[in-house]
Subunit: 328 residues, 4 copies
């Protein structure tokens, strides 16, 4: 039974906290939040107690923390937690500044404590199977990775303004998947972005529709396209083209029901958003974190993975703004 | 918090007990089994205590029981439990003899206690959506119900011998679904059955491959086919043909991954068996049982539903053996 | 170049005549019809001449005829044509009376001339592939054949009245496919039928919604369901369940286009009716007829196939009307 | 009846010639080829006569020519034909040099004769329906066009060397589709290419795997990826993401047959190559050419479309080679 402290009682904290509470191999020891009432409410819901961050960090029986607080607190809390001897799971990103990430990772390294970054899509059963089958060589060498990623609707404009922009906030997940699936580091980043969904996003200096081309040193190609809006739900698809064939993972639907009438055949919209689509991924992610702690193995995705995805997101942002590809 | 006693610590008891233990609105108060060690093992796994059937029935704080013991104990245990004032959920069937079922239902009625029968497929999200959409009139009047049902592999021959035969043991689920979806009682049952999968099943006087035609008084038709073996998993499909169109619910697959290679495109086999396919259905079934208790409403499917499905299974058995249709 | 005379310039005659005219190995020598104007119009359209039936039969250069005239002329015309030394392709059925069919086949046999019956579905590329793959043993022994067959809308009531009824007019195609795919003769026929689509059909003594169960001597099962109306087009599906797996052939759609919007995903209705769905089948059927003539081989499906399908349709009609299964 | 002369008796000439010969509104008057024997063989096959190019051009009864000769003859033959008063259909590209194309189009313009370029994919029933439905506004404003295009296997290295490279030889079709579907001219072209399929292609200075990003002035984005090899056939898919939803057109398969066995479900590979996949497109393309001639309307795609696609292919080639985006 690994005792875990949850830091951050918001939407994603509720997911991770709930999964910990329901896990046979873990116990949710306490919930902390900058707003004590939020911590108390979630603690009650999940059958545990609220506590301050400091109380969690100084509780020797708590082996690990899950950081689900706002982005600008991640790096500080990671540092505090590893110094306090905790294993750390942190939601992406470590920080919007890659310099700050590097500094934080150096602190982590010094403590030798494990740090896992919440790139949840790696744990989606569909994408995980895609990766596993590609790794077994089912399609030979991977040549083209295609990722289509669309959110159901744009976030509030206030969120957009402090998000770091589409590439760092949204596409970073797809950039991580591209790295994960290419099995090589991209060395060249091309990006085009537009504001087609919501003018205010453009006025805030961000884009809501974007596409990226990545190339690795050996010539493998990844193409990613993102939109902040899809009328039909949360669209998440990945396709791998390889020397011996193709592997793809499609969307997940609430039911298999099909209707046929005079205007044709129809089926459900895709699952609405990440809480539904990635529910199984969040559980598998927790399994992986707990397993790494138990085996004293380095968790994956690592802090380094977090850094590299951020560097790609930075490069895509720069390429999109300058109209020139960025070499890494 | 509704306190529940589990009777029967076998495969299906483990499912229901686990769902009760994880449910926010219920508590698993105790587990009973004819084999005390089995009760103890499951109780430990689910964080509760083992107890005798009598102890459960005489515990006034336990509001309901879930009967998951062998079929030949169902009717007795239902009677005991309702007499002890419990709400009862019982796995299908109430009994292999319809006379015994009628007697049992009469006892239940006298006590006024709620009895729900475990026709889990009604709660499958796909089939439930099918029913809901048909009930809303999406396809107009239903005219033909088609049910394809295949188990992955036949049960042990010893099980077959005391199962009541394919129609009562396996097809009873499909017969219940036909009633549920037709919205009318079948009045005519035609059946043909063969032993094609395993000779021993035929030697035991049973069939392993069978098809049934049902007709209601108003002329609606249902066709069901069953096989005790499907190389590709647990095949469970339903299709409704109506005046304004068609609705169908297909199989559920572990992942959406597709592979394409020189020999074409390929996808996963279907989920292996009922524990996987109907995991969500078992949870929704428990929700419905608890909701009925809470609202003091009659649960559905009812004991009467259990009886009617059994009468259809009896009729199908007779029709199959005699080669003549049975009128109800 | 095999010279062919077309008898009957109606809808199906136009299809066969057009295919002959476009075929590299055949020439459409003449078109005959009881209405000379119809023959002339079609002849002009297809770049050939109109002629009387007698003129076609006495023209020694014409090697074969295709009989596409009304059903009640088929048997007479077949007899005349084979006596005149022609190879004959005849649209189904040979006659609505099996006694008349037997008499006709005896005449054909005496002449030794080839007779092929137009069960076009055997030549549909999808169903033909299904049969070929099953014959190769891909799914082991076939155990259950499931055929779903729906017309887009019922024929005019006047047609219904002289059609011989749904089983002989519509389901005969499905009964032929069941024989073709089972690879064994059914010995037991169960049928239920209703008039749900159009009251007038019921008043005319026919059904518009029907299902049949067939069983062969070795215990294989076929289930067929038919409706005279499907809101979404001409629905034609076949599925084979075998010892080693399942093979199925689905509908054919005008395009692969899919739309996704707020209410979900949607695709085309199926192709509207047999002229569109079976266009390729009619061409392949002609290929088979010409190949049989060229190789002096017995064409398939044969007159015997026509007779046996008719006997099954007769049995289904009787079973449906009497409510009792018919043994063959 | 429009009389047509065919110039070029190779693989694609055979397709167009065959379609003309079978067309109710056209007649194949003659076939010319640099190799008279090839012209004679194809003329015989299609029931017409062989003739020299000059004889065709000077035959006043021939209204139009279809140019299917090698690429380096296209511009010369177009000029000759329009000067001779013919309507011209020419296979893509007009020339590998855009300067030469411009000169040729100027000649065409002076004569006022119609010129249509063979971008066959616009006439594929699936892609044509995609365009038509998008044009009707089904998905609102188009924001992202995604085109996946894979040939089954690379052409001979000798062909590669004189092909103008992947972007001009293969991707030009996709670039035309991107223009066609965006409804706006791309102003920015990013490209990455690699030689992953066949080293010899790389040694010849070409790529076999490539991806392109296009952006229009209003910010719409198109992404295209191409490979010269796909283990599973000729992969041709297009997807449109718009403000109100998504429209996509998938691959076409020989049959609808699905198999299910212990290793899962499987279906056919896609149609092998363009002759099969675009058979219907070539027929519809001819219809459009003949209709334009009949109505004296400007045919589409026009010579200008040919030029613009070529300029995009040039830009993609340059962007790929230089690693820098090209502005148009």
């Amino acid at each position: 039974m690994i005792k875990i402290g949850l830091i951050g009682a918001g939407r994603i904290g509720r997911i991770h906290g709930g999964n910990v509470a329901a896990h046979a191999g873990a116990a949710l020891a306490a919930v902390a939040d900058a707003l004590p009432k939020a911590a108390e409410a979630l603690a009650k819901e999940l059958g545990t107690k609220a506590a301050s961050l400091d109380a969690i960090l100084s509780d020797g029986s708590i082996e690990a923390v899950m950081i689900c607080s706002p982005t600008d607190t991640h790096a500080d809390f990671i540092e505090k937690a590893v110094k306090a001897g905790k294993a750390v799971f942190c939601e992406k990103p470590v920080d919007l500044s890659s310099a700050r990430i590097r500094k934080c990772l150096a602190v982590v390294e010094k403590t030798g404590k494990p740090l896992m970054i919440g790139f949840n899509r790696r744990f989606d059963p569909n994408f995980a199977a895609l990766k596993a089958r590609a790794s077994k060589g089912e399609i030979g060498a991977i040549e083209i990775v295609t990722i289509l990623s669309r959110d159901p609707s744009p976030p509030p404009i206030d969120y957009v303004k402090r998000s770091g922009g589409l590439y760092r906030d949204m596409m970073i997940h797809d950039l991580d998947m591209a790295r994960f699936l290419l099995g090589e580091e991209p060395v060249e980043v091309h990006a085009v972005g537009s504001s087609l969904v919501d003018k205010k996003i453009g006025e805030a200096g961000d884009v809501d529709t974007a596409a990226v081309l990545l190339k690795t040193a050996s010539g493998k190609i990844a193409q990613i396209s993102c939109s902040r809006r899809a009328a039909y739900g949360y669209d998440q698809r990945i396709e791998l083209h390889g020397a011996k064939g193709m592997l793809r993972a499609g969307n997940v639907f609430p039911t298999t029901v099909e209707f046929a009438g005079a205007s044709g055949f129809s089926g459900d919209p895709v699952l609405p958003f990440f809480l539904e689509r990635y529910a199984a991924a969040y559980r598998a992610e927790l399994d992986a974190f707990l397993a790494a702690i138990k085996k004293r193995a380095a968790p994956s995705p690592s802090g380094e993975d977090g850094l590299r995805a951020q560097l790609l997101a930075d490069a895509a942002t720069k390429a999109s703004q300058s109209g020139k590809p960025v070499r890494l």
